[in-house]
Homo-oligomer: 437 residues x 2
């Protein structure tokens, strides 16, 4: 006999979680489609040669590997698979290529330190491939915002920064080019481990304390978006100026797409952990749930796809919608209505002899689009009602011997306890009206 | 630079495949819900102790293992995870528990011998746990039939048999009890390798030629369902009689649930490969596509869930809807309408100065529910129209300098080539009417 348990960091999604989850994923899918995105799916198992060397050394360690001679690993994100797809089927996918992808990814994280962080989780990605226009960046920001608003998470902030600005600052702090990504990866942890934690980690990497302090001072800027942007422009660093000019355009376009300027928070210390970003980077947070981490996160990555495509430069930009964290956040904010089942009617089974009466009637209800189930055994009616009650099925129909002879049925509404004996046709009419089918 | 390729047996689903795939999965989900089923999801990574020893020795070899000290493997089907869930959360899930589960599974098959057989594929499972009533078996058959009909696969046959009947026949052929499952596993290959192939495989297992011939003769019965059933009853074997009586009840109930008797084909040699079945077993085939294999397959398994639940006997019954094979079949029968994108309107970008005009107007269309994308760069209009044409986007809107000044836009229908200059409000009205939003 096996003892039933799950591997740590894995989760089962029981119906009461799955019902809202499916509803929310449908809502997100509709929004993606409304913005002109088409669906893509890629396999869970990829060659390690595809996965490794794209995310950075910290992330590479988190890739689950199969026990297999061909060198296989599990999908770590949906961006690298997109890059592979563009190189394999680019000719079939006219650019700009707007795609969404909703699939599970796996990361061998050491433990569940952060709320909503698991070893298996679903990502919903939207990306535009083949354009470096800031319209694309603005569109991705606007989609993120629309999704959060449509789910009732109205108090989000989009945190915005730019890798060119960060590179300029790292350069101004006089770090060597080779240390750039390592510095940014540590900076990325600011929200989790604080300024002191970042400093400590940078020191442990044998980086110069003076340079570290200089950088941390520069990125500690606070104030309104335009205040910070004007301040950064004063450095007159070529990279910073180029990043700031790009940010200005994105901020202009994003207004046309329904995002308020007060929903955006420019932050010179937000770094994003992955190596492949090259331009604007962004994530969304809920200030009312500071421990939640980012609900969405993405940016521009103009060099990644070229890594698979013989060096051809194919600009791209996109974001991940973290459905797991969004659901956790909605749960904490009590935005998820309780759902036990979609079933509207339980047709009870009075006796084995009358079983086909119940099956026939249930089938008529289903044909009218009413979600209906049959209790499959002629148990005591009390037990059948208790079952409907446990699953919160709103109506129970009973067809006993007398009713069967006269074409009638008993229709009971569980919430009120009201029961009436009606013609079967009338029961159907009543139910159609109640459920607006 | 990485060379982009996929591991053998894995597939990418490009948009033109994914668009109908999502539509079909939605349709299946709605049918499951109409029958009162609730959704469940379980993780891809399970402990090997959960996976091994449930499917049979052939199948155990096909489980992908992770390179991990904790002994982990990838989901092989959705039935064993359901059994684990029932043992872990049974108290929260009042029985009969009807659940559907739509997730990917992985099997390390040696090669793609059969059409639609891959190493990664999606399963859609429906199961009823907690009842041994033949109403449950009939319901599962009826759902399989309804799904195939609703997708236009009207010429299917449900192949039906019973493990008790098979066990009776194996017993009558005088095989030892210990060889039972091994014999059934070989018999299961009849449709793929033929009667001679089955015989050869059974001989290679060092089984007695006389017994093999006796069994193969008994299962070679052909004729109408009732003819075969009556013939089997003549053996007066207790197990066969019990199986036949169960089949008779299922055939009675299934009629009430919309399945024609001519849609069911009783076959005493259909065995199903997995060890855990105990009662009725069934699969659906398309006689017009004989190489396709079964599109759905399942049966009753009354002992599996108890393996996880301390020996408590929890009867269950269910089927897998093989979405990959169904899509292959629909493709061969030309039942899948061509779909390139869901986008209805491309708003062109006339110039960088007029970019926000395009963004504003696209946003108005989206608010009305019309799927709309913006061309993100002010390329030559010819190129922007060519892009719309490649993706088969039906309408293009252009807002040039003159139009922008007067609140107008050019609205072009690509299929007819008709273009008119209209007020923006009128363009929205026309598009709403065309797309019935």
């Amino acid at each position: 006999m096996s003892k039933a348990r799950l591997y740590r960091g894995m989760r089962d999604f029981l119906p009461k979680i799955m019902i809202p989850r499916e509803r929310i994923l449908n809502e997100i899918r509709k929004i993606f489609q409304r913005w002109g995105y088409v669906p893509l799916e890629t396999p869970a198992i990829e060659l390690l040669s595809t996965l490794l060397g794209k995310y950075g050394e910290d992330a590479d360690k988190l890739i689950y590997r199969l026990d297999h001679p061909d060198g296989l690993g599990l999908r770590y994100d949906l961006t690298v698979p997109l890059a592979r797809v563009m190189s394999q089927y680019g000719q079939q996918l006219p650019r700009p290529f707007r795609r969404y992808q909703i699939q599970t990814v796996w990361r061998a994280e050491r433990a569940q330190k952060q709320k909503g962080r698991f070893r298996e989780f679903m990502q919903c990605d939207v990306d535009i491939v083949g354009t470096s226009s800031p319209v694309a960046d603005a569109e991705i920001l606007a989609i993120s915002a629309e999704i959060l608003k449509s789910l009732g998470l109205k108090n989000f902030k989009i945190v915005l920064n730019h890798r060119e600005i960060l590179r300029g600052l790292v350069h101004l702090a006089e770090f060597e080019e080779k240390d750039e990504m390592s510095v940014l990866r540590s900076l990325d942890k600011w929200e989790k481990i604080g300024e002191d934690g970042v400093k400590e980690e940078l020191l442990s990497k044998n980086l110069d304390e003076g340079k570290i302090e200089k950088l941390l001072e520069m990125v500690s800027l606070s104030g309104g978006n335009w205040e910070i942007i004007s301040f950064l422009e004063k450095y007159r660093d070529e990279r910073i100026l180029s990043g700031v000019s790009n940010i200005r355009q994105i901020l202009q376009y994003v207004s046309s797409l329904g995002v308020g300027q007060d929903e955006i928070m420019f932050s010179p210390r937000m770094a994003r952990g992955l190596d492949y970003y090259t331009g604007a980077i962004f994530e969304t947070i809920l200030p009312e749930l500071p421990d939640m981490g980012s609900l969405t996160g993405g940016g521009r990555y103009d060099n990644l796809i070229g890594m698979f495509s013989g060096g051809e430069k194919i600009p791209a930009c996109g974001t991940t919608i973290g459905i797991d964290r969004i659901l956790s956040a909605m749960d904490e904010l009590e935005l998820i209505p309780e759902a036990h089942t979609n079933t509207k009617v339980l047709v009870a089974m009075f006796s084995e002899e009358l079983a086909t009466e119940s099956l026939d009637f249930a089938q008529r209800l289903r044909k009218m689009g009413i979600e209906t189930e049959v209790f499959p055994e002629p148990k005591k009616l009390g037990k059948q009602f208790a079952y409907a009650d446990k699953w919160k099925i709103p109506y129970v129909v009973v067809i006993g011997e007398d009713e069967a002879k006269q074409g009638l049925c008993a229709l009971k509404e569980l919430s009120s306890g009201n029961q009436r004996i009606v013609k079967k046709d009338d029961a159907i009419r009543i139910l159609l009206e109640v459920f607006k089918k």
